[in-house]
């Protein structure tokens, strides 16, 4: 019973892991830039939702309509100020520099968050926060279920955009072969900008959903960056639904570790799984070569 309950909770959080990974996967597959500050962007999204709720009583799901565009703009800014210079180099140097820049960004964003909002944990508590759906003997928190469905819907929308829209296809083409894409008349710089901003917006949405069902604080950044990385290593790059599935797998693995090893080792199991997959099968369980 406990196992089943934990597995449900693991499934529910797994959707968020997938969403978190999707943003990072998008920017990496298109720009070949690994932004290790992705978790901090998730943190910022979480605070956005938190403050909109706390200051102006805006329902957290509704606030995402504001948080997503705001984070999109932040993504534009970050690309313009930092990452556009990183993409000028060729791949090896690009990855190296993006790791460093991302690392520095982690530090700065983390410090700014503590400076403005203190290191305290925050959570969004609405009137319906505690509502639970009973299935059999199991409790399924409504909020987390809604978040999961929301995350899935966002990924589905993103998938449609990439598959059908002119700019979505441009993004996919640029990810596959940027020179060939340029020869189609696709402005590669603008495509990079769009992909990065989208990735940031995705992080923001993930963060908003995190603040709804879980606590946030300035320090959750590193944790979520690692979660996103674990999912990417598990699922490989290039597939949004692979990311989602990878996220679910991670959520379930964590749930099982909670049952068999106890709560404190939840994070560790995911990371150890990550190291094992890294060593044994770095292209991920479903993915093409990263």
């Amino acid at each position: 019973m406990i196992l089943a309950q934990q597995l449900i909770l693991g499934l529910l959080v797994g959707g968020l892991y997938g969403l978190a990974a999707a943003g990072l996967s998008l920017t990496f597959s298109v720009l070949r830039v690994l932004n290790v500050a992705h978790g901090e962007l998730i943190m910022l999204g979480g605070y956005g939702t938190f403050w909109l709720f706390t200051l102006w009583k805006i329902d957290p799901f509704v606030s995402l309509l504001g948080v997503a565009p705001a984070m999109f703009l932040l993504g534009l800014l970050l690309y313009w100020a930092l990452f556009q210079f990183v993409v000028k180099a060729h791949e090896e140097t690009r990855i190296k520099n993006s790791l460093l820049i991302g690392f520095g960004l982690t530090l700065v964003l983390h410090a700014l968050a503590i400076r403005f909002w203190t290191a305290d944990e925050r959570a969004v508590t609405t009137a319906y926060s505690g509502a639970v759906l009973r299935v059999g003997g199991l409790a399924v928190p409504w909020l987390r279920l809604t978040s999961l469905l929301f995350a899935f819907a966002i990924l589905a929308a993103l998938h449609l955009f990439l598959a059908k829209a002119r700019w979505g296809r441009a993004i996919r083409a640029t990810a596959e072969d940027w020179e060939a894409a340029a020869l189609m008349g696709i402005p590669v710089g603008k495509t990079y900008l769009l992909a990065f901003a989208l990735g940031t917006a995705l992080a923001g949405i993930a963060g908003g959903l995190v603040s709804i069902s879980y606590a946030i604080s300035p320090s959750i950044g590193l944790e979520w960056t690692l979660k996103a990385l674990v999912v990417i290593v598990l699922a490989g790059l290039g597939s949004l639904f692979g990311s989602f599935a990878g996220g679910i797998i991670l959520g379930l693995a964590e749930a099982m570790s909670v049952v068999f090893l106890g709560g404190p080792y939840r994070e560790v199991v995911g990371l150890i799984l990550f190291l094992i997959v890294l060593v044994v099968r770095p292209q991920g369980l479903f993915g093409a070569r990263a």
Binding site: K96, L100, L278, P282
Partner: protein, 304 residues
């Protein structure tokens, strides 16, 4: 040659400092600077010279601290306690390096990032209580041996790197950084050179951790695995001048002293400043303070 003179001067000044003053705050600052030098120089060896970015440098610092502290508090003489710490750090480093270095791209960086977090969380769970120096040591606690130990380590670290880099092995290491494929083509085993740099880097970091364990009266064991130590190492290396011998030294002086001065104000402020400065250096001024100093000297020379 100028560097050698500057180095000797540095050593002379810092070695004689305790003879001039007994102010513990200055001596503590000294220890911080020396630890920072070792932390940064060890990172610089792998990151600056071998081109492998280690985002979990804290893991090896923490392992050194853990092993040394445990042994020393348990009665082992310090000298004997330091080396197992360095050794364990090195073994963990190789454990990540051997699989990760075969792959290109970011695998080593994120692997070390993950390792540091695993250790931090695990140690935090297994050893949540604060670790304090036993009473017998506390009574006779003296900053001087700590001061000279860390100074000695800083000197050792810098000299090691200074001797290694122009050597044949050092040349191989740098060749691997420039172009792995080309290096392999000329018979330089990329894997072996990367692993060598990794082994030295992590061992030195472990030594620094061991010194920290000897120096710090009480701390939470998981704190030594905190990413803050990695940040320090990376920021100092880049701000000082990554890929040079004296860059990390300059950077350590700049960073630690400025941090002391800025800490009077809000605590996080210095992180924002250094973080931004670091990003600026990586993007636009990769030579760091070393390069800045070179340009200033050239400007002065030109105007006279």
């Amino acid at each position: 040659m100028k560097l050698l003179v500057a180095g000797i001067l540095f050593i002379a000044v810092f070695a004689s400092l305790p003879l001039i003053t007994t102010r513990s705050d200055l001596l503590n600052l000294g220890v911080q600077i020396f630890l920072a030098v070792v932390l940064a120089q060890s990172w610089n060896l792998l990151g600056g010279y071998a081109g492998q970015i280690n985002l979990g440098h804290a893991a090896f610092f923490g392992l050194g601290a853990l092993v040394t502290r445990t042994l020393w508090v348990g009665g082992t003489p310090l000298i004997l306690a330091l080396f197992p710490g360095a050794l364990v750090a090195m073994l963990f480093g190789l454990m990540i390096g051997v699989p990760a270095f075969r792959l290109r791209g970011a695998y080593f960086a994120i692997g070390t990032l993950g390792l540091a977090e695993i250790l931090r969380i695990t140690i935090g769970n297994l050893m949540p209580q604060i670790s304090t120096i036993p009473v017998r040591e506390l009574a006779s606690y003296n900053i001087l041996p700590r001061y000279y130990l860390t100074l000695g380590m800083a000197i050792l670290c810098v000299v090691l790197v200074a001797l290694l880099i122009p050597s044949r092995i050092g040349l191989g290491i740098r060749a691997v950084r420039e172009d792995e494929a080309a290096a392999e083509a000329t018979g330089v085993s990329a894997l072996r050179h990367k692993l060598l740099a990794l082994a030295l880097s992590t061992a030195l970091s472990g030594l620094a951790g061991g010194a920290f364990a000897y120096y710090h009266v009480s701390y939470y064991p998981q704190h030594t695995f905190s990413p803050a130590w990695t940040f320090d190492a990376v920021l100092i290396s880049y701000i000082g001048g990554v890929g040079t011998v004296h860059g990390p030294v300059l950077g350590a002086l700049f960073y630690v002293i400025l941090r002391e001065l800025l800490a009077v104000k809000l605590v996080e402020f210095h992180l924002i400043i250094f973080g931004t400065l670091f990003i600026f250096v990586v993007l636009f001024f990769p030579g760091g303070l070393v390069e800045a100093w070179r340009r200033i000297r050239r400007m002065i020379a030109r105007s006279t």
